[in-house]
Subunit: 314 residues, 2 copies
């Protein structure tokens, strides 16, 4: 690990951890907002003690950063996780994928590290970061939509993120007309047609041919593959349905696309803008933007959240 540049602002450093369903990321953030020694590794799993496994790994990494940067005084630690979370009490309420229920992340990490701990929802905090430092700057009514294997959102109304008791933002599990039976048990969920995962699955179902990812399906569509084009168009239509709902109910000014599918850029935003535009009448018309922070949004959100404990915001 290399030390932060001597020119770094004097503001305090924080540690940031973004735990995902497959991988987790970690970094030291200096007072200027720059990440150092950004690490990526498989998320530790222990079916019997899933929360403890994460806390143990995070605490070990925290110790390693402290050891590798002896000249840095770490002020706080930020951790974001998926699933249902209670940010107020620092509890991971439920993760279908990682297996915990009502696990007191913030308390356990405070005990293990001795640091002030900020705990939050991965997509929620990624959204906070995008709104404050990325594509959502200056907006009050916006939705950050992370489209990957599934779809999840961070909903901002009148400048504040909507929590809904930890349940808000599940736009991937709101129904659209073209949606089908979802793994969650409901029918018609947007992520059954509009996610990168759905694009790959539906292409294979139609053609019997495997695709490595949504990017490959898009490439096939560009090369005249009608099945690929159809699957891509279905995803756009489904996403447009979901976005138009947001516009009607919340007066959303802009939807900011993140996650793997957003890397399609104008192949996604172009048709999506047209589809949204064709559906609305007197409604506020949401702009369609692409995330600026990209894959680091969750880590940046964890760092910002930690910084909120230190009185030294970026």
């Amino acid at each position: 690990m290399s030390a932060p540049a001597a020119s770094s602002p004097a503001g305090g450093s924080v540690l940031a951890f973004d735990v995902g369903g497959t991988d987790m990321k970690a970094a030291l953030q200096d007072g200027s907002g720059k990440f150092h020694s950004l690490l990526r590794m498989p998320t530790p799993r222990d079916p019997a003690r899933p929360g403890d496994a994460v806390v143990k790994e995070v605490a070990a990494l925290a110790q390693r950063y402290t050891r590798d940067y002896p000249q840095v005084s770490v002020q706080a630690l930020g951790l974001v996780v998926p699933g249902l979370v209670d940010e107020g009490t620092g509890t991971g309420l439920f993760s279908a994928n990682l297996g915990w229920r009502d696990y007191p992340f913030a308390q356990r990490l405070r005990e293990e590290t001795g640091l002030p701990v900020a705990f939050g929802h991965d997509v929620g905090l990624a959204g906070e970061a995008e709104m404050r430092l990325g594509a959502g700057q200056g907006l009050r009514d916006a939705v950050v939509l992370i489209i990957g294997t599934g779809i999840a959102g961070a909903v901002f109304c009148d400048g504040r993120r909507v929590r809904g008791g930890g349940y808000a933002g599940e736009i991937g599990h709101a129904a659209v007309p073209t949606g089908t039976l979802c793994a969650c048990g409901a029918h018609g969920c947007l992520e059954t047609v509009g996610s990168a995962g759905a694009i790959v699955r539906r292409y294979t179902e139609r053609t019997g041919r495997a695709a490595a990812g949504a990017k490959e399906v898009l490439h096939a569509a560009h090369n005249g593959d009608a099945d690929a084009a159809g699957v891509w168009a279905d995803a756009v239509e489904g996403l447009a349905d979901g976005i138009c709902h947001l516009a009607a109910v919340l007066g959303t000014e802009a939807v900011i696309l993140g996650g793997g599918l957003s890397q399609a850029g104008s192949d996604l935003t172009g048709p999506l803008r047209r589809a949204v535009d064709s559906r609305l009448s007197f409604h506020r018309r949401p702009g369609i933007r692409v995330s600026v922070l990209g894959q680091d949004a969750g880590l940046m959100g964890a760092a910002l959240h930690a910084r909120g404990l230190t009185g030294q915001p970026l």
Copy 2:
């Protein structure tokens, strides 16, 4: 007009006005929250000066209340109107039905009456009243859904009403799979299938028989009329689609039904609860409640809003 009872609390009185597309209501509210001389009359219209016509009538009524209650010191005036409003500046941005655009209601009424004026959206403020004094007490995440000729909502997230720049709450103009072309120009709007107006219209389209109101269609359904039952069931399904969207996106705890259709009581809430329940999986499951304040919710909201200016809340 009769004077407020001598036993009324000493808290100040306010004047409240609820301007609707057809009728307007007015009342004096004493410090205990009781309305006096509640009046209902046709909304004054002047195609050339639609805003002025309302202000003139409201000012004349204010003068009449002041004259009829000489012992009462009126502290403030609250006015709620339909359409798009900017509550911050006190402006009626747009009403398709009543015809104004960017009309400075609060300023004009202050000039005419000399009173502090609170100005707001009719459904939004009816929702505020329902949350504070009616069926929404104690809830933080709820939607008040007014179902009459059309459908409009007041959306509450984390204890606050969502404004969305004046555009939030148009749940009647969010699409559902069974919706059709709407007068607003969009396709599939919930109010084309789920409103009292749609129930009457669709029943007539199916049968060629006129119905005086949704109540009559419900009565026919009870008497074995399959068309009536079908139209009613479609409305319930459409409303369930809309409500499930709210649950997924906002973590809504309860939907509070108001407006004419809510008078159907358990004929509406029973099947609606079952339909909502059958659609959701891990989501927070919203309760289905009926408005407590009923038709006076808008007037109560105007009074509460006015009271907010006086430092004498109920």
